[in-house]
Assembly symmetry: C4
Amino acid sequence: MQKTRLEAFSDGVIAIIITIMVLEIKVPHGSEFADLQGLIPVFLSYMLSFIYLGIYWNNHHHILHTITRVNGQILWANLHLLFWLSLVPFATGWIGQNNLSASPMAFYGVILLLAAIAYFILQGVIIKNEGKQSILAKAVGMDWKGKASIILYVIGIVSCLYNTFLAGSLYILVALLWLIPDKRIEKVYKEMTDL
Amino acid sequence: MQKTRLEAFSDGVIAIIITIMVLEIKVPHGSEFADLQGLIPVFLSYMLSFIYLGIYWNNHHHILHTITRVNGQILWANLHLLFWLSLVPFATGWIGQNNLSASPMAFYGVILLLAAIAYFILQGVIIKNEGKQSILAKAVGMDWKGKASIILYVIGIVSCLYNTFLAGSLYILVALLWLIPDKRIEKVYKEMTDL
Amino acid sequence: MQKTRLEAFSDGVIAIIITIMVLEIKVPHGSEFADLQGLIPVFLSYMLSFIYLGIYWNNHHHILHTITRVNGQILWANLHLLFWLSLVPFATGWIGQNNLSASPMAFYGVILLLAAIAYFILQGVIIKNEGKQSILAKAVGMDWKGKASIILYVIGIVSCLYNTFLAGSLYILVALLWLIPDKRIEKVYKEMTDL
Amino acid sequence: MQKTRLEAFSDGVIAIIITIMVLEIKVPHGSEFADLQGLIPVFLSYMLSFIYLGIYWNNHHHILHTITRVNGQILWANLHLLFWLSLVPFATGWIGQNNLSASPMAFYGVILLLAAIAYFILQGVIIKNEGKQSILAKAVGMDWKGKASIILYVIGIVSCLYNTFLAGSLYILVALLWLIPDKRIEKVYKEMTDL
């Protein structure tokens, strides 16, 4: 039951983050379509962040699903992940208000990087608790996606010094990487259930 | 169980959208009833959006209820719908701050149209997954309401060029169309259960 | 199950209303305790609204609990109640920003009155659906509290023309009236279960 | 079931509080990293408040878990706790906007103190209802942590007159005190189940 409550709380926090982010899109004072033009970068960054949070919600669901018992370590590793995710609306708002300029783009990458690391830690803590033979341990395996994301974020952050367009493309690339459904956990789960 | 979590997450997001929308009604500085007068368009648009989100919550409940298994496609079609719904408070705020003028009214229609299309896609994805003989497939049938809404939204958006009052009336008409309880799904469900 | 979802959605909306209300308490620019002084009316109105929403949550829980089946009428009567409750943060913010002056105090009363009427309607719709012999019908009985509240709100609203202090006292009185735990439903429920 | 709803409502409110707090971190107008510098105190206070709310959520979970029946007293003692917690974002925002100056630091301590007292009362009400032989009564025992926190908060508040750095350190110390997992309840629970 404790697991259910952990899931419900995490879902609640992610649902709120994904929704209050829209409050960063400030209603323009003018009443013409031209007044919306200045909001295009805000809108694009909102869209990317929405997709990112959707991916986190989805994957988070998969790894929590494999837990058999919750302890303090898992609880705090989970809150640590939610902490960085909760800063996504702020980072998104800063990008949007500054026309995708360099520092906000780098900062956005840093928040995504820290969230990715927090996810990595959470995954590690769960595997440590559930054992090397657990569903999650087998499913994650080499976890090339997790590692690739971290490398791509770092390249993206550094590239902000030279080309924010490249940085943006890299952040989108990571999202696409994860949008491809992660069948690893489901597959291993099925195999273990079949035995 | 995955379905329950999908429902809970969607309900959470819709509950937050419907509630944070009230934050777009800015508290006036003056302390007289006359100071509220300027808020009448905000209030009216808030009321309409509240009803729209209530309708989406209700219908969304009905179609998710018929799902027997959740997959990545349904999950993302659902997030796609939530994305457009999450922009309703912004569109509502823009209308309200500009005294129901043309561009904001058209923009509001565009967001409603995109949400309607997203709902249409979600419905299609579910039917594709559940099969032509599923409860939802039979219940939806011709789906004249869904199609009529899309046509009415398009007419409403175009009519903003000439008459925002007409546009507003069309948006209200679509809401009324859906407020009439949709007994189709319940009816077909009952018939299939009786067999 | 549909009832569970109705409860969860309503709880979600009330939880969000009760919490976003705090966003109306704007952080002062100064850094002295004296800068908080101007916030005392905001704080007091926040406290009263918090108690009101707590009462609604509690009583709402009791009446939904007695429902055996949900239909469109109940659903919309419930959304109607949530609509007026969602305006409580706005009304609270207006009172707070204007030092408890007359019009905002009257407006606050109007919102409370409309919420009370919506609650009354919801109760009626449920009783109509569940029958005169239902738990709720017996428990509510004469419903003197509901009726007294409506009368006290009306007196409070009118009294704003003469004395906002009296109005405030009447609103507090209604809250106290409901804070006294409502044992009616639980008692009748027990009696009917004992038979 | 009533207990489940109390848990869900409390979780919802805490999830919203922890998340809307991020709205107090206002997006800076400039687009350089230097523009974030002014936000460092906001960010630090946000981090501490996030940890505090995480601790409350965790411990709150433990004490509610031991309840066997909910009554009006527990319900209101719980809402009383949520009330003070709901003011944490405001207090956090005030600290952050004023560079950790004395009055906001003291005010933050006062809110934490009142939340701690509310928690203490909630605990007492539950023990009174469940009896001296209940799991919670045995687990809490002397409750040195609860008492130590209250004393440390008072010292912290007073020390703001002289040294806000000391006050901050004391608030962090209390958080660390609680971060150490509270194995008391789980332990006593296990012992009682083993009999």
